[in-house]
């Protein structure tokens, strides 16, 4: 039994190395693809529902606000107003999945959207939620 475990340990190590390496290759390949689409941050476009909105356009049309977070003050446009600008019907009727360039995503509800902001750097901040919800490099807000 002990001898079995002696052989099992290197096999398990090789297994996790294979899983970790192949996942890294997959992530690298898919990230490169999306980065090529959205590499110009100044003219970044965010897909909201079925529409596309340029961040610079949103900044021209929505007044920026500053909110207090546990990581200091953050300035950006209120996300609920961005939803209205993008023409979503009944914004309070939906949940929203915020998707980053690397496919990281978090789903929030309308109450959270009303407290959140989107910065020039395309990062969302929700002062009442954990940092895991502060998605960086947002490329899409899916309306569910």
């Amino acid at each position: 039994m002990s001898l079995g475990k002696e052989k099992l340990i290197p096999i398990l190590a090789i297994l996790v190395l294979i899983v970790g390496s192949s996942s890294s290759i997959y992530v690298y390949a898919t990230q490169n693809k999306t980065t090529n689409i959205h590499n110009d941050s100044s003219n970044r476009i965010i897909i909201i529902g079925e529409n596309e909105i340029q961040i610079s356009y949103a900044l021209e049309n929505i007044e920026e606000i500053t909110i207090e977070t546990d990581d200091g003050e953050k300035t950006g446009i209120p996300i609920d107003e961005l939803m209205v600008l993008s023409g979503i019907d009944c914004p309070s009727c939906h949940k929203y999945t915020i998707i980053a360039e690397d496919n990281y995503q978090k789903t929030v509800n309308w109450e959270n959207m009303q407290e959140g902001i989107l910065t020039k750097e395309s990062r969302v901040y929700f002062p009442e939620l954990a940092h895991a919800f502060w998605v960086r490099d947002v490329t899409e807000i899916e309306v569910n």
Partner: protein, 216 residues
């Protein structure tokens, strides 16, 4: 009684050191721009957990250490959801102990070769990091009533990839911790207890003091 007391103080000591590193050293590494999660798990957690297991040889010790470190993390309200971070640390202690209970014996019979020491380092560190991270990613949305399974599934390749550096660090940290535990370190009781008390008190006072300074 004496053995139980030694074990209890050992749990508090190693748990406090682990919690201290998570609360103070982790954010410091993060501020330097380094991947703190990987370093904290692959280096600090693996060394404290391995050393404590091999020095005290008691079942349940690493789970208990996780409880102590998680409690200390709970007193450090930086970096978002405290409950989730505390539970993730507790989960790491539980995962480590489960793996080592299943794969190793306290006499290290199946860890005599360097190959196996490196291999258990890679497997343990990778598994603890990936599963611990997954626990946080599941518990954080649950605690806010915002859990969505597709948010987790779509990120699985990322989670599995992020464990690789932790596994590689574990290939060094765990063999080093095993070598340190093999040194004949005998500390007399009259030195052991005061030293344990001083180090533990330092960890708790520093973390709580740090929180008070930044929250005022």
């Amino acid at each position: 009684m004496n053995k139980n007391m030694k074990l209890f103080t050992g749990i508090i000591l190693f748990g406090s050191l682990w919690g201290f590193s998570e609360c103070i050293i982790g954010p410091w590494i993060s501020n330097l721009g380094a991947p703190s999660g990987v370093i904290m798990t692959g280096l600090f957690a693996m060394i404290f957990l391995t050393l404590s297991r091999l020095l005290y040889k008691q079942k349940g010790m690493q789970i208990s250490m996780g409880l102590v470190a998680g409690a200390l993390r709970f007193f450090n309200p930086f970096g978002g959801c405290q409950v989730c971070s505390a539970i993730a640390i507790i989960a790491e202690g539980f995962i480590f102990e489960t793996i080592w209970n299943l794969l190793t014996a306290y006499d290290l019979k199946n860890l005599q070769t360097l190959t196996n020491r490196v291999a258990i380092g890679v497997f343990t560190s990778y598994s603890v990091y990936v599963l611990g991270y997954l626990v946080t990613q599941i518990l954080t949305p649950i605690s806010y009533g915002l859990f969505n399974i597709s948010d987790i599934i779509i990120m699985m390749p990322q989670y599995l990839a992020r464990g690789l550096p932790a596994g590689l660090i574990g290939a060094f940290s765990i063999p080093i911790a095993i070598s340190i535990s093999n040194l004949d370190l005998k500390i007399k009781d009259r030195i052991y207890y005061p030293t344990t008390a001083i180090v533990t008190a330092f960890c708790w006072v520093f973390v709580i003091g740090n929180w008070l300074i930044y929250s005022i």
